[in-house]
Structure formats: structure tokens, C-alpha cells
């Protein structure tokens, strides 16, 4: 039970600054997801909170207490690693109870806490096994168990699902969400997967090149991206970007327009706001993705209901969208507020 505060946190490796001042306020019990492409600094940020990387400048506070210079063990946190980081020479029980033994907790209490965690994570039959005798999903659960039993103030997750197969990832995603809700522990979760970010987060932070571009509730971020980067990163397939000059009746003042594939629809050639030629379409069943090429040579994607007829490849088409569906950006890639 704690809050987590980051104030103007910066990180420099030698001469290269990788995090350019991040401010975050995490409420007690909140689930925050940091999402961004590889190399945006999201893992570094998490490792700074964990105490595995030094903080170049700024302040990190857990429950109001400045932790910048504390060792990881003194910060009252627990972390789940991407590769699980289980102790290979210890049984599942020893893995989970390692931190408690070091804290010199009485044996009965250790046994009790491990039993509770094992029950919660359905690990009871495996307590005497070694990590190498477990499947990927079970290893993930042991790593979770190790974090849970210590009852930390803050949970840190570093891409915990990226080593699992697609089906297991969906299942574990739900389990993590349910577990976090049950325990009510403040959590910081790093991922490059926008689906995880959208589904898990109470609030999400979109990181781009060492800067937190936007912090907000997932649906707010989706509906009102603050920058061109956020608009392009959140949402699948990605937002189409076009210069206003290419759009009939475009608003003035914007340097670029963003149109989400799900907001655009095809019309007859010659009508609509833009013209394009269908290059190919992908029928996914429930929906169809239609890829077009604009006269400028730029690609454009339209997402339409799977029941609608598929256009013939090589056909010219019109592209249209409802008024107000376009997202306007200035020359620096920042959102222009609607008048």
C-alpha cells in the first residue's frame, strides 16, 4: 500500500541522456502501464525505480520517502523479470520463500505465506520441483509468487509476458489483472505490447525516446492522443497520417492529419475526401483490412466490417471519414486542440 512519485527523473549513460525528465504520480493501489517501442527507456525507468540503475537527477519517492540512494532491498518493492530470474538450484518453495528467509521470518509464518501464495497461483502441486521442471507459464507464476509473499509496497513488472506463447499470454494477463485487483498493491508494469497496456492499465504512460508523451486512461489516450507518436503507436492497425493538402476540404492550420483505420470507409471512386487505389485486402473474419496507395505513393489502411463486400485489388476508390474523426497535429507533432 503506497504511492509512487517520480519528479523530473533523468538518466544519463556516459554522455547520452536516455531519459529526459519524467514526472509520474501513481496513486495507492493503482495499476500503471508504461508502454513504448524498444529503446524508449521504459525498462531503464523501471530499473531506476527498483534501484538496479542509479538516478542521474530528479527524485523517486515511495510513499513520500525519497528512495534515490537506497539499495533495492531497502525500497520495499518486488519485481517480476522478463526471463523470470528464478534461482535454478532451488525448489519452487525455496524460490518463493527466499526473501522471507533472508528477512529472518519465523518458519511457520514462511510456510503459511508460501501456502497462501501457492494456492492463489495454483502452484501447490509443484512446490518441491525445480524451475527447469516447470513450463513457461508455471515459471511465470513462481516469479509472481516470489513477489507476492513479501507483501511489498510496489510491484514492478518488466515485460513479464513476452516470453510466453500467445494463448498463455492472454491467460496470464487476466490472472495478473485479477491478482493485482485482489491484493490492491500499487503496480508499475512495462511492456511494448499495446494490447497489454490497454487491457491492464488503470492509467498508461506512453514513452517515446526518453520522454513520457502522454499519461492517461487507456481509452482517453486512444481517443485523444497528445502527439503524433502516441496516435501512431496506440491502436492497431496504426493511424494513417496524411498532409492536409491531400485532403479535400481539410481544416487549415494543421501540419498533419491522423485518421484511424476504423474511422475511415471506402466510397465510390471520385467521391469522398481522398482518392486511392486498392493494393490488397486482408480478411480477418470479423473485420477486413484494406490497404490502399494514395496518389502521393503513401500507404493508407481502412478497417471495415468483415461482412461488407471486399473491393477488387487494383480498383480506384474514394476514402471518406466522419467530420471530426481526423486528429490534427502541428509541425512539431503535437495535437492541435479542436476549436
Amino acid at each position: 500500500m503506497a504511492t509512487l512519485t517520480l519528479r523530473n527523473v533523468k538518466k544519463r549513460f556516459g554522455a547520452t541522456e536516455v531519459i529526459h525528465g519524467v514526472d509520474i504520480d501513481v496513486d495507492d493501489g493503482e495499476f500503471i502501464v508504461i508502454v513504448g517501442p524498444s529503446g524508449c527507456g521504459k525498462s531503464t525507468l523501471l530499473r531506476m525505480v527498483a534501484g538496479l540503475e542509479t538516478v542521474t537527477s530528479g527524485k523517486i519517492a515511495i510513499d513520500g520517502r525519497r528512495v534515490n540512494d537506497l539499495e533495492p532491498m531497502d525500497r520495499d518493492i518486488a519485481m517480476v523479470f522478463q526471463n523470470y530470474a528464478l534461482y535454478p538450484h532451488m525448489s519452487v518453495f525455496d524460490n518463493i520463500s527466499y526473501g522471507l528467509k533472508i528477512a529472518k521470518m519465523p518458519k511457520e509464518e514462511i510456510a503459511e505465506r508460501v501456502a497462501v501464495a501457492a494456492k492463489m497461483l495454483q502452484l501447490e502441486p509443484y512446490l518441491s520441483r525445480r524451475p527447469r521442471e516447470l513450463s513457461g507459464g508455471q515459471r511465470q507464476r513462481v516469479a509472481m509468487g516470489r513477489a507476492i509473499v513479501r507483501k511489498p509496497s510496489v510491484f514492478l513488472f518488466d515485460e513479464p509476458l513476452s516470453n510466453l506463447d500467445a494463448k498463455l499470454r492472454v491467460q496470464m494477463r487476466l490472472e495478473i489483472k485479477a491478482l493485482q485487483k485482489d491484493l490492491g498493491i500499487t503496480s508499475l508494469y512495462v511492456t511494448h505490447d499495446q494490447v497489454e497496456a490497454m487491457t491492464l492499465a488503470d492509467r498508461m504512460i506512453v514513452m517515446n525516446a526518453g520522454v513520457a508523451d502522454q499519461i492517461g486512461k487507456p481509452l482517453d489516450v486512444y481517443a485523444n492522443p497528445a502527439t503524433e507518436f502516441v496516435a501512431g503507436f496506440i491502436g492497431s492497425p496504426a493511424t494513417n497520417f496524411v498532409p492536409p493538402a491531400a485532403v479535400a476540404g481539410a481544416p487549415s492550420g494543421a501540419a498533419r492529419l491522423g485518421i484511424r483505420p476504423e474511422h475511415a470507409r471506402l466510397t465510390d471512386a471520385g467521391s469522398g475526401r481522398m482518392q486511392g487505389v486498392v493494393t490488397f485486402s486482408e480478411a480477418l473474419g470479423a473485420e477486413t483490412l484494406i490497404h490502399l496507395v494514395l496518389p502521393s505513393g503513401a500507404p493508407f489502411t481502412v478497417r471495415q466490417d468483415g461482412a461488407l463486400p471486399r473491393p477488387v485489388e487494383g480498383e480506384p476508390c474514394g476514402i471518406d471519414w466522419p467530420d471530426g474523426a481526423d486528429i490534427r497535429f502541428d509541425a512539431d507533432g503535437r495535437r492541435i486542440a479542436l476549436p
Binding site: 527498483a50 534501484g51 538496479l52 532491498m73 534461482y87
Partner: protein, 293 residues
């Protein structure tokens, strides 16, 4: 599954095996056979004829207090060389593993002593500790310590142990460093977050995960101390004073080639062969039980 290459006839595999088999036969089986054969005879002082004595040589050796003392000397010597060289190597490897800048330079410098032949290393240490002209002896003298390994048995043992361990540290360092670097960083970090400080992490995580390397080095170092330290001992102490540094291998040489008792020397070789065989078997059994995780 294991991949096996299947040959059609016998000629090619035999030809491929021949060089290794020939070398083993000429340099191992033949001399070992000769040793076993000779251990059953006592040659006359001029080497003209020899007399069959059965197990007489062995019987005499096992009742010989000097030979028994040599066993103890060997145990002390190889134990010390192994512990000293592995201990220092592990310490240096831990330091080098934490290093980010200049790690390559340190590593290269630490590996150099391994390139020095044992006999040359022996001569180096002999000059440094020479009782008359040695640099170290002179400084020890200034400090009021009278170093004389020619007379003092403890000092003699210390010196050959130091000289034998010196080059060995490099070899052990390489393996320990590789072993340390093979431990995933995140496991160490997880332990740090779990509350383990450096020494606890080392004791509960690093040391157990390093055990395959440690056991391998244990075997290799004991075998080294048994056999390959001959050059060092020969150049520094020649087994003295009063046989204080006469390890089994050195006794094989001094009894056979200096004392001209070829029968006894051969019998000692056979005993060494058995001892090393046993040592290897025991250590590998131990490894199979302990090291797997």
C-alpha cells in the same frame, strides 16, 4: 537426439582413429606397461641384470617411512596449491566481473603468468627468494626476518606452493570469470531485490551456481599439483630440505634417476597411477551427486 555418423566400412574409421591410438599407445600404454613390468624386478647396481621380486618393491615402499612421509607431503602440497590458487583466482574473478572499464586489459594481464613454463616460473621465484641475492629475501631481512628456505622446511613448502600457484591463478581465473559471467544478471538482481546483500547473494546464489566450474577446477588443479609441479620443485628446492618438499612425483624421479633404484621408482609410478585413477573416479562421482541443479 544424438547425431551419429555411420561409416560403411572399417578402413576409414580405423585410419581416422590411428593417430590418436598410436600416440596413446606409444606415450602412455607402452611406458605404463613397462612401469608395471619393471616394478616387479630389482636391477643390480650396474643395470646388467635384474631379479624378479614379485610385489617386493611395493611391500618395501609401503613400509618405508620416507615414502609415507612423501604421501603426507603431497597431500599438504596439492591441498595448499589448490586452495591458494583457486581462492586467489576466485577473488580476482569476482573483482574483474564487476569491472566495466578496462576489463579487457586486466583480463589479459591476469592471463599472462599462465604462459610461463613451470620450470621458468620456478627459476624466477628461486632468484627472488634466493637466500643470498634474492630481492624479497633482502627486503625481508630489512624487516628483521631471516628467510632461508634451504634450511627451513615450512619456508621451503611455502615457496614451492607460491611458485606453483602463481601460474595456476591465471588458468583458474579464466574459468571462474567465465563461470561468473554465465550466471544471468537478472538472477543476481532478483536476489538483491529479495533482500540479499553481497555476501548473502554470493553464499546462496553465486557459489551454488558456480559449483560445476569449481568442481572441474578442483579435479584439474589436484592433478596439476600432483604431476606438473615437478619443474618448480626441481628448480627451487630439489625436494629438500630433508625431503620436506619431495612430493610423490619428485620421489619417482629422485629414487629412479638419482638413486638408480629403477624397480622402486617403477613401483611408485604404478602406485601414483592407481592413486590418480581413484582420485578421478571419486571426484567425478562426487560431481554427479552434488553439482546438478
Amino acid at each position: 537426439m544424438e547425431k551419429r555418423v555411420t561409416f560403411k566400412g572399417w578402413t576409414l574409421p580405423l585410419c581416422l582413429l590411428l593417430p590418436q591410438v598410436a600416440i596413446t599407445a606409444v606415450f602412455f600404454f607402452y611406458p605404463a606397461g613397462q612401469a608395471v613390468y619393471q616394478s616387479l624386478f630389482i636391477p643390480d647396481p650396474f643395470g646388467l641384470k635384474s631379479q624378479f621380486v614379485g610385489l617386493g618393491n611395493f611391500n618395501y615402499l609401503l613400509n618405508d617411512p620416507y615414502y609415507r612421509a612423501s604421501f603426507a607431503t603431497t597431500a599438504v602440497f596439492s591441498g595448499l596449491v589448490t586452495v591458494v590458487s583457486m581462492g586467489i583466482a576466485l577473488y580476482l574473478a569476482i573483482l574483474a566481473d564487476r569491472l566495466i572499464k578496462g576489463a579487457g586489459t586486466y583480463r589479459t594481464l591476469l592471463i599472462w603468468p599462465y604462459a610461463v613454463a613451470p620450470a621458468v616460473a620456478g627459476v624466477l621465484w628461486m632468484f627472488m627468494f634466493n637466500t643470498r641475492v634474492g630481492v624479497v629475501t633482502w627486503y625481508l631481512g630489512l624487516l628483521g626476518y631471516d628467510w632461508n628456505h634451504v634450511l627451513n622446511e615450512g619456508e621451503a613448502m611455502g615457496l614451492v606452493v607460491a611458485a606453483s600457484s602463481w601460474g595456476r591463478v591465471s588458468y583458474n581465473f579464466l574459468f571462474f570469470l567465465a563461470g561468473l559471467q554465465a550466471i544471468p544478471k537478472s538472477v543476481i538482481e532478483a536476489a538483491a531485490i529479495d533482500g540479499a546483500r553481497f555476501w548473502t547473494r554470493f553464499r546462496t546464489i553465486v557459489w551454488p551456481l558456480l559449483s560445476p566450474t569449481t568442481f572441474f577446477l578442483l579435479v584439474v588443479n589436484v592433478v596439476y599439483a600432483f604431476f606438473e609441479t615437478f619443474g618448480v620443485i626441481h628448480t627451487i628446492t630439489s625436494g629438500g630440505p630433508q625431503q620436506a618438499t619431495t612430493i610423490l612425483v619428485y620421489k619417482v624421479f629422485s629414487d629412479g634417476f638419482v638413486g638408480q633404484d629403477l624397480g622402486s621408482s617403477a613401483a611408485q609410478s604404478v602406485i601414483l597411477l592407481v592413486v590418480v585413477g581413484l582420485l578421478t573416479v571419486i571426484q567425478f562421482k562426487f560431481i554427479e551427486r552434488r553439482v546438478h541443479y
